[in-house]
Symmetry: C2
Subunit: 418 residues, 2 copies
């Protein structure tokens, strides 16, 4: 039985391939338009009969084979959406290495100063109400823990790792990320911590187990919360970690520490005020420590339309400026430390993609070929986006503006026992 969340992809796969006649002059003209639309990206195109176009600068690192006329028309009408769908359904084929082709494309577009304007047409977004937030998160995160366990690390962390050296293992890098976050928060035994968006609970458990913290961890994904609770019970940590299946906006109570890793990009700009209100009310009036870890941008751009529709409904990676403007400044909070880890995310994604390919038969058996191709495109595309600066990964440490109980230097992040 296939998982219900894959329904979108099944529909795509069943679209019939109707083009059998040789390309017309119109088809060739459309192809040249598409080639031009790719700008300086070193990617060529081909039609179903072998007709080819080339990028402005040779050599091309790959070629995209358009297999039928509806696909060609689709790439003209809505390139961002239909590129992903056509690739997923197999009506668009990549001749060459997908991650490398995507990376070269993003790099060329970044140098052109392309700002995602084409995507603006599709950027009408609905705010994430409590119900829609739940649907959005369910869409992605409730594909089944079994699916994610095929290609995530053993502790099931689905956020950017921190590689002490580039060749560190993914397992080690995810543990290092948790320690990096805990050190940035100067976590101490007995600290009361609230975590907004806890995934499968690895960080919450790590904070309790390794730092003696008392954690309340919020998440609206049913499957993830269930997984976290089982882990906590199995480890005897259920007295120190409480997993709560609810939206971050319902957080009540007072805590020493607020932490959120990989949630802000799902919050949506319209709700930053709500997140700010949570931070303001849950930290002590004159103190507290906080950290936001999120996928961001250097300049405002909507998330790629296809990724937003098929992979991450409701997602928006903000700029650092937007986070300052809507959360930290009006919240009376001061930036203590910002670190950009985008190359660590590119590496994390390379690990995930490699593990995904290693388990591709199992994924295909469960979700079908279209799903496999869609996820391959999503993982490779994300890797390319971080590798080229198209997307950033920010860790922001903050405190109340007037609070002097802050780290004197950042030595303690790097020197053990300092």
């Amino acid at each position: 039985m296939r998982h219900k969340a894959s329904t979108d992809f099944d529909t795509l796969a069943s679209a019939p391939s109707r083009a059998v006649s040789p390309p017309s002059a119109l088809d060739r003209w459309m192809l040249s338009l598409i080639q031009r639309g790719f700008g300086t990206a070193p990617v060529g195109f081909a039609l179903w009969d072998g007709t080819q176009t080339s990028p402005p600068r040779e050599p091309a690192v790959g070629r995209l084979l358009v297999k039928d006329r509806p696909t060609l028309v689709g790439l003209i009408l809505d390139p961002e959406m239909n590129f992903g769908d056509a690739y997923s359904s197999g009506r668009l084929e990549v001749l060459g290495d997908l991650p490398s082709m995507l990376e070269h494309t993003y790099r060329a577009w970044e140098q052109e100063g392309r700002d995602g304007q084409a995507a603006r047409r599709f950027s009408l977004r609905r705010p994430n109400t409590l119900r829609r937030a739940r649907e959005n998160i369910h869409h992605h995160y409730d594909l089944g823990n079994d699916f994610y366990s095929l290609w995530l690390d053993e502790q099931m962390l689905y956020t950017c790792a921190y590689f002490p050296t580039p060749d560190a293992s993914l397992e080690r890098a995810q543990v290092a990320k948790m320690d990096h976050v805990c050190r940035k928060l100067r976590l101490r035994p007995g600290d009361k911590v609230v975590e907004a968006g806890c995934g499968w609970g690895a960080l919450a458990l790590h904070m309790a187990r390794n730092y003696g913290a008392q954690v309340k961890a919020f998440n609206i994904s049913t499957e993830q919360i269930r997984y976290g609770r089982e882990k906590a019970r199995a480890e005897g940590l259920d007295g120190r970690v409480e997993f709560i299946e609810d939206d971050y906006r319902t957080i009540q109570g007072k805590f020493d520490v607020f932490v959120s890793v990989g949630m802000l990009e799902h919050v949506g700009k319209e709700r930053y005020g709500a997140l700010r209100a949570v931070i303001e009310r849950c930290l002590p009036a004159d103190g507290g420590r906080g950290l936001l870890h999120f996928i961001g941008r250097d300049r405002q751009r909507p998330l790629n339309a296809w990724a937003r529709r098929r992979i991450f409904p409701g997602a928006y990676p903000p700029t650092l400026r937007e986070v300052l403007e809507s959360i930290l400044e009006p919240g009376g909070l001061s930036v203590l430390d910002v670190e950009n880890l985008r190359l660590h995310y590119a590496r994390t994604l390379a690990h995930w993609l490699s593990r995904f390919e290693g388990a591709v038969e199992q994924v295909r058996g469960r979700f079908g070929e279209t799903f496999v191709r869609a996820w391959r495109l999503y993982l490779a595309g994300s890797q390319a986006a971080f590798a080229t600066g198209w997307m950033q990964l920010f860790q922001v440490v903050f405190a109340r503006t007037a609070d002097n109980d802050v780290a004197w230097t950042r030595d303690h992040l790097y020197v053990d026992g300092a």
Copy 2:
């Protein structure tokens, strides 16, 4: 002979004290207005006959004695400007410890969420044209190298130091600051560096001497440039450090590294585009490293009107958001690292104030009592501003968005030889 830059203060000092009659009901009413205007600050007031008012919350940490009626009226009409002038001229006396009183006042105002609105009236600023920039900088920095050498460290650094531990000496902390900056920039032998706003040249010389860099250092203060050049010659570094008496906007040529320590706060918001253009054109199109070290804010506020008029004409400490909005984002630059060192600046200022007091007889002899009091107020007020979060000190490391030749982690800042 008194230095010409002290003219303003001499005028203040010569203002006659006209109030001799006992305070009227009107005077007492004005006093209560002033007391109320201080909000929750734990500071009381007194009139020349001993009449007192108290802050809403006792105990007061200090009391301000208003010595005559014109001063009282001045504090009603334009408190921000006249507080500083009245204190400088001795027509307002502080009963209690000045730095502590200022710190408590800033802290109370920060908690009230006071946003400097009162100061907006006086925030009409003229953009810093090349000529005005020169006048502004001359006003402050050309008081004479002898004056600054009385209370700065031996290398004459007039920017926030970096104290490895809070009890480090000022000398050590200024060297540590330069090393911290050089490490953040990953300075390597042969690097071509441009420094915008180089003060007396200590950092430029340090980069050449200790890191083998080739430095062009810009400054519009005649006295500072002369001092730097002499130092370079004396050390035999004049082949590797070129001191240029000119505005940062005239910088031409290509460099590996752009660095600016303590200049951005003098640039003025209207000129951030010009600074951005300099950074964009002087770094390689696909690379380069950069660092901005500047006094900033958590929220937009004009600089205190008195400090802007008497101490730092043309100055404006920006928020991190403003720097992102006007310099980094439109410049195609990516934030790699932000560190907030405001408590290090509070400590730096405490050292400066203490050394200033140690040399106060010499300062008084040269510039007069009004100048002494004005500078005491400025140093103590700045210390209080940093100690309370009223002002911030940001170091921002940046690179071109698509540049992957960036530090993998920040270990190299903390682990020697890494």
